[in-house]
């Protein structure tokens, strides 16, 4: 069992991916890990610092076209990036990078006006500007059609009013893709806008959460005036873009969660071998438990990979991504909870070690990328 866990369980991606993995791992180990504790103590995720470190080695623009300022590669490179970031055992970093690259930047690169792409995407891929996505409201989480943030036209401009909550990157972002109601009924009643955070009328308030600290905020828009080309996609396409985007986000959330579970599992095993054998008669039960968790992590990993593969091949990934996110979030919770409850007990509660943080962070994925109920609904359809 020890050999099995100690071995590198990640699948062989081939030479080019291995080289990229090594490059990211070096940055994580030498530049990010030493600063992690200070960030945690400050409840802060300095995303631009993190992106700058990654960008110096060309790790930020992977998976984006070169004419956008990307460094080429494909979504598997993005998978490698997130798997290695997960080794920091702090999901705040993975989720903020994900929200910036795979949600905000990708939405702008794929659907915004040419002028907006030119203005935002190259700098986003250099890590000098941060993007994010703002859809959730206090009374519109799963039910985004209940969004009350409004956008109206006025003299060729858009005027936005409303409030978004639980927004990842709100505190660091230079621009947010904001979902707002633009009129009409049904799926064509909402549109997406790229809102510069420096615009007059935008106010950000940090939110304190159980886990994933330093990432969430509340954003208020009061008579925020935007140029006409701030629209992302066509008017009335907001909810449709959101639906299409969800599969992509969920697949990557599944990758992050599975990688976190892998790292947590390695920690469980390392700790279980160090701990004094104070309780008799449990050795075989511990072995069975760990073996079961290893199998679960492997299962979650390949489910996540299948969703990524569907995205790469241009297939409908909605169901596979929903399944991947559901299984990955349950797996991470199970691994971290088992460690917390069975292995560490009160030590973990008191010292706020990495595993406790992992468990708190894991609970955040009960909602991020879709609640379990919504995932099940999606799978059932």
């Amino acid at each position: 069992l020890e050999t099995f866990v100690a071995a590198d369980l990640r699948p062989p991606f081939g030479a080019s991916y291995s080289a990229f993995r090594t490059a990211v791992a070096d940055i994580v180990r030498s530049e990010l890990a030493p600063r992690l504790e200070a960030w945690i103590q400050a409840d802060s995720v300095p995303l631009k610092e993190i992106l700058a470190s990654l960008a110096r080695q060309g790790c930020v623009g992977v998976g984006f076209a070169e004419h956008h300022g990307g460094t080429g590669g494909n979504l598997w490179h993005c998978v490698v990036l997130h798997e290695e970031l997960a080794r920091l055992r702090c999901s705040s970093i993975g989720t903020t990078v994900l929200s910036h690259l795979e949600v905000g930047t990708r939405l702008v690169a794929d659907h915004a006006s040419a002028a907006a792409v030119e203005q935002w995407v190259p700098s986003a891929l250099q890590g000098t500007t941060v993007l994010g996505y703002a859809a959730t409201e206090a009374n519109a989480g799963s039910d985004l059609a209940a969004t009350t943030t409004m956008a109206r036209t006025n003299g060729g401009c858009w005027i936005i009013n409303g409030e978004k909550r639980f927004i990842t990157n709100a505190l660091e972002a230079d621009g947010l893709c904001v979902l707002a109601r633009t009129g009409g009924r049904g799926v064509t009643s909402h549109s997406l806008f790229l809102v510069p955070m420096a615009a007059e009328g935008v106010t950000v308030t940090p939110l304190s959460s159980l886990g994933n600290q330093g990432t969430l905020g509340e954003v208020q828009f009061e008579e925020v005036r935007l140029e006409a080309d701030a629209l992302i996609g066509l008017e009335g396409q907001g909810l449709l873009l959101q639906i299409a985007r969800l599969a992509h986000e969920r697949a990557f959330v599944a990758v992050i969660l599975t990688a976190m579970a892998q790292v947590a599992l390695e920690a469980v095993f390392a700790r279980s071998t160090r701990r004094l054998p104070g309780v008799r008669g449990c050795a075989s039960a511990d072995g069975n438990l760990l073996a079961g968790l290893i199998a679960q992590v492997e299962e979650a990993r390949y489910l996540a990979y299948s969703a990524i593969e569907a995205l790469i091949l241009g297939r409908d990934a909605r169901t596979s991504a929903a399944m991947a996110k559901l299984v990955a979030s349950r797996t991470l919770r199970e691994v971290t909870e088992n460690d917390l409850v069975l292995r560490l007990g009160s030590d973990a509660l008191d010292t706020d070690g990495g595993m406790t943080r992992s468990f708190r962070d894991a609970l955040g994925f009960l909602f991020a990328g879709g609640t379990e109920t919504m995932l099940l609904e999606s799978i059932a359809r």
Binding site: A146, F166, L276, R280, R343, S346, T356, F367, L376
Partner: protein
């Protein structure tokens, strides 16, 4: 009751004693256990574990050890005020784990003992007049060679430091450090059993189970109220079958746990035994309260994940309650040691 107003056990304990909710040991009768079962269930429903855990550690862990194994000197100083609730005792929430890990050692020196080490997660640490600590006496056989001590808080070398606990804040839980603490031999609590952490384990763990079940019960009820008020997709949350059934399952689990607690209380109260059923109740209640914490958090949604929200606080509380009086690991171990489970 607002838990914010009774965070200090110094306030809560005398109130419970004076109103008859907690009886002085000398006055205890057959109804006392049932009275305490009800008390801890209700304390659990506060949705904040601090009051229940404070009372549990003081009355169910330390007081019995003191009454049973305290020397005349220690009993004379602490037993009366302790039963009246005017003196407060601290104790580790995971005594057995603490003993096993050998966090504190006690060496015989000059006819007394010298203690060194630190104990995390000491409940009531800041308020305590005396700290109850299980120390290793030197041998590596932790299960047998440990002893409990009641160390007055004013002895030189004792220090209380707030660490970052996951819940309840620094006023309730802290680490207690012992640096060359020299105490007379009379401060050792001599229990009848070789392992002091098991000496009072049945009622203590039963009542920890009641606290956890009460907490789960109160939280599930609050979540059900929320599911009636909150609307998505044009209907109340309760109108969504998946959530409704999840709440129904939770309520069933809470009720099953409650009945197991009552069965264990019957066994403890009538036979004085009931160790197996009380340990099982404790294990079951810990699982139920943890499941309630996570499932209800799902129903409260992202709003529940915010630091000050009831659902978020309950997650932290639930994991602390489920660790109290032995982690599930320790309870598993204890259950395995019974061996003849069918024969009871």
């Amino acid at each position: 009751m607002d838990p914010g107003q009774v965070l200090s056990p110094r306030v809560a304990l005398p109130q419970f004693v004076n109103t008859g909710l907690l009886l002085r040991r000398a006055d205890a009768d057959d109804d006392d256990l049932w009275r305490r079962v009800a008390l801890f269930e209700e304390l659990g429903k506060l949705g904040h574990s601090v009051v229940g855990l404070a009372v549990l550690v003081h009355t169910e862990f330390v007081l019995p050890l003191l009454a049973q194994g305290g020397s005349d000197v220690v009993r004379a100083r602490f037993l009366g005020p302790g039963t009246a609730g005017t003196a407060v005792f601290s104790g580790s929430l995971s005594t057995r784990g603490q003993a096993v890990s050998g966090a504190v050692t006690a060496l015989e020196v000059n006819g007394g003992y010298r203690l060194n080490g630190a104990v995390p997660l000491m409940m009531n640490a800041h308020s305590a007049d005396a700290h109850c600590v299980v120390a290793r006496l030197g041998s590596l056989d932790a299960a047998r060679d440990t002893a409990a001590f009641l160390i007055p808080a004013d002895v030189e070398g004792v220090a209380v430091r707030s660490g970052r606990a996951d819940c309840n804040g620094p006023t309730a839980i802290a680490s207690v450090y012992f640096k060359d603490v020299q105490v007379p031999a009379e401060y050792r609590l001599v229990a009848d059993t070789p392992s002091p952490s098991l000496a009072v384990s049945a009622p203590e763990r039963l009542l920890a189970a009641c606290l956890a079940t009460g907490a789960a019960s109160g939280h599930v009820d609050a979540t059900r109220d929320h599911s009636r008020k909150r609307h998505t997709f044009g209907v109340a949350l309760q109108g969504h079958q998946g959530l409704r059934l999840r709440l129904a399952e939770l309520r069933t689990e809470v009720e099953a746990s409650r009945q197991l607690n009552y069965g264990a209380a019957l066994a403890v109260g009538t036979t004085g035994g009931g160790r197996l059923s009380s340990f099982a109740a404790r294990l079951r209640a810990a699982r139920v309260v943890r499941r309630a914490a996570v499932d209800c958090l799902t129903i409260f949604g992202a709003a529940g994940y915010m630091a000050e929200h009831r659902a978020s606080r309950f997650v932290e509380s639930a994991y602390l309650v489920s660790t109290a009086c032995g982690t599930s690991e320790a309870v598993f171990g204890s259950l395995a040691e019974f061996g003849d489970i069918c024969g009871r």
